[in-house]
């Protein structure tokens, strides 16, 4: 298998830990009453975000979904501003109007998380259409789950994107459960990638718990898409270690299954691999600590930021 150099892999590990620490920190903020609504964590799925986004160009357009913290932080959004958005602070990317599920950073070519399951899939194809029309050389990449692959937008958009050879990579993060519904009950084909055949496009499956595997597989897909060969579907097999959202007793799966999958934790895997390749444990620990420190600092910044009010609530309906 292809292998990343140690420095690169260490950087990826650090960003995966950053994502994990960001979300674990949210749990504490909820407990203190500093966050409203709900949040959809991607704990256990960090490798898909980091692997795919690192394989892309920083100019490629990203579209995410309700479970988007990983994608946001992997692209390099400021954790203090992401957290500020979730906390309704004025340092937030969207002034507190969007929150976790509707968060966008146009300067970083991040077209937004999206609270409607499957809602971002056509938007990504539209962005790809614009890239193709303007001949920018950029592509778009959309992340969605196994649940979204049952929406009409998935099938309609894959069909149109293939017809029109749009430069878009459809990335399905298959975490085996659409909220509580297992893919075995909901996906007639069992997995998602075979559906690509119906739309005359390449469907690839990769181990979404291994950030190196994600990176190299995504890179190949992205290169082909950028070369104008049309869209592709990449299915990354992953596992959400946490519940669907804030309140989820996870009655639909066993603790044994969770314990088995925890052994394949992408952060653990990457850290072990680095040690095996001779990276000193102190360096590995330092990278992880740096991620935690960054989240602690981001939390201080967000907590210190002022809250929006009526002005933010009642302006900008129209451009």
């Amino acid at each position: 298998m292809n292998q990343l150099d140690n420095t690169t892999l260490l950087g990826m590990l650090q960003r995966m830990v950053l994502i994990r620490a960001f979300e674990e920190n949210l749990m504490g903020l909820f407990d203190k009453g500093l966050l409203g609504g709900t949040s959809h964590y991607c704990i256990g799925q960090e490798a898909t975000a980091v692997g795919v986004i690192d394989a892309a160009s920083p100019k490629d357009w990203l579209v995410s979904n309700h479970r988007g913290h990983g994608h946001l932080l992997a692209r390099g959004l400021d954790p203090a501003r992401v957290l500020g958005e979730l906390m309704g602070r004025l340092n937030g990317y969207c002034l507190g109007r969007g929150g976790s599920q509707h968060l966008c950073a146009m300067d970083l070519h991040f077209l937004g998380t999206n609270g409607v399951t499957g809602g971002g899939i056509p938007i990504a194809a539209g962005a790809a259409l614009a890239c193709k029309y303007k001949k920018t050389g950029e592509i778009s990449i959309v992340f969605f789950g196994d649940g979204a692959s049952n929406q009409g937008t998935f099938h309609e958009t894959l069909n149109m994107a293939s017809n029109w050879k749009l430069p878009v990579l459809f990335v399905c993060e298959n975490n085996l459960y659409a909220m509580s519904t297992p893919t075995s009950h909901a996906v007639a084909s069992g997995t998602i990638a075979p559906r690509a055949a119906a739309y005359n496009m390449r469907g690839t499956v990769a181990d979404g718990l291994d950030v190196e595997a994600v990176y190299f597989t995504a890179k190949e897909c992205i290169d082909r898409v950028r070369a104008g060969n049309g869209p592709e579907l990449l299915e990354l097999m992953t596992y959400r270690q946490c519940g669907h959202s804030k309140h989820d007793a996870r009655v639909y799966r066993t603790r044994e299954e969770e314990a088995d999958m925890a052994k394949r934790d992408p952060i653990l895997t990457a850290a072990t691999r680095l040690a095996e390749r001779g990276v000193p444990q102190t360096d590995i620990d330092a990278a992880q600590q740096a991620a935690h420190d960054e989240i602690a600092h981001a939390t201080e910044v967000a907590l210190a930021a002022p809250k929006g009010g009526e002005t933010e609530a009642l302006s900008d309906l129209f451009a």
Binding site: G112, A125, A127, L129, L317
Partner: protein, 326 residues
């Protein structure tokens, strides 16, 4: 001034905007060589090709979403939804994406897209091809809605809609497509958000839009001719936002209001107009407001059944008499 068909006016607006701005693209079903179900895009594929006209499979929600994504990156997509009934299929992308993104993303993005769709019954098209679903759209913040009632409006408003930085739904009308009217030539536009006093009068105001505007103008002419009663007709034109200034000024002048629309009566534009006037012009009103609209029924196929559900000119006449005689 040349007289052209309403459908041709739409076609001219699209042609001129495609020629003017390379960011304008068209998206929709059968808009290529076929020229669109009602001929709105006739000749444009030959002129601009597949790079500008993206002829889609039958996937309304997703091709509307593709329009949203393209608009976010600076294109100006004009999406055609073949019958207004099928707006139902695209409502998610209209309501949850197009109408919200500018606001919910903190003003970082604009969605300068247009959705053109013909509403209205045209005689026998039946329950799934005849509705005027304006009520579904005006309750969604973030979307502008206009409903041109003449060829000139069809052209001038569509050009403005394409140039606007926001999502605009242009509600065309199937019964108006084959109607002719004078349209100024040259590059001109009509403002969004403005109602028009289509006929001046002093004894009663009829507020109407789309297909009901010509119907109400004819009713007003008949009252003038037969009874010497001068009715003012306010063509609402813009349904979201409503031009309350023009509307209120007319009601304050006449003291009486009938609101007419082709859509079902419950929870629609006429209801909103009546509520606003009741809220803001009570002191001027000399009679209760009357609403005229389709009965709250699906629109049946057979012509005589369709007529029983839709507003007929005599319904407007009856409402006018009721309000005048109060």
């Amino acid at each position: 001034m040349p007289e052209i068909y309403y459908s041709k006016a739409v076609n001219e607006a699209l042609d001129e905007e495609l020629a003017r701005d390379p960011n304008v693209i068209l998206i929709g079903e059968d808009i290529g060589l076929y020229g669109g179900a009602f001929g709105a895009t006739k000749g444009l594929f030959e002129k601009y090709g597949a790079e500008r006209l993206w002829e889609t499979p039958i996937s309304e929600n997703s091709f509307t979403g593709i329009g949203v994504g393209a608009a976010m990156l600076g294109l100006r997509p004009v999406v055609e939804i073949m019958f207004m009934d099928f707006v139902a299929l695209a409502l998610d992308q209209i309501m949850n994406s197009a109408g919200k993104l500018h606001y919910m993303y903190g003003g970082q993005v604009n969605v300068p897209m247009v959705i053109r769709t013909p509403g209205g019954a045209k005689g026998g098209y039946g329950p799934s091809h005849s509705q005027t679903l304006t009520n579904l759209l005006v309750g969604v913040p973030g979307i502008k809605v206009v409903a041109p009632s003449s060829p000139a409006q069809a052209k001038g408003l569509l050009k403005s809609a394409i140039r606007d930085e926001n999502p605009v739904v242009v509600v065309e009308n199937k019964r108006l497509y084959p109607k002719k009217g004078e349209v100024p030539s040259g590059d001109w536009t009509l403002p969004l958000g403005k109602a028009v006093v289509a006929r001046e009068g002093d004894s009663l105001t009829i507020a109407a839009y789309s297909s009901m505007t010509p119907v109400c103008l004819a009713v007003a002419e008949a009252f003038a001719k037969n009874a010497g009663i001068e009715i003012e007709v306010v063509d609402l034109v813009s349904l979201q936002p409503l031009d309350t200034e023009t509307l209120f000024a007319s009601v304050r002048k006449t003291g009486r209001l009938v609101v007419a629309e082709e859509a079902c009566l419950t929870g629609g534009v006429a209801a909103e107009v009546a509520a606003l006037v009741a809220e803001h012009c009570m002191d001027s009103l000399e009679a209760p407001i009357a609403r005229v609209g389709a009965k709250d029924m699906p629109i049946p196929s057979a012509l005589q059944l369709e007529q029983a559900v839709l507003v007929q000119p005599q319904d407007v006449v009856a409402a006018v008499k009721r309000v005048l005689e109060y």
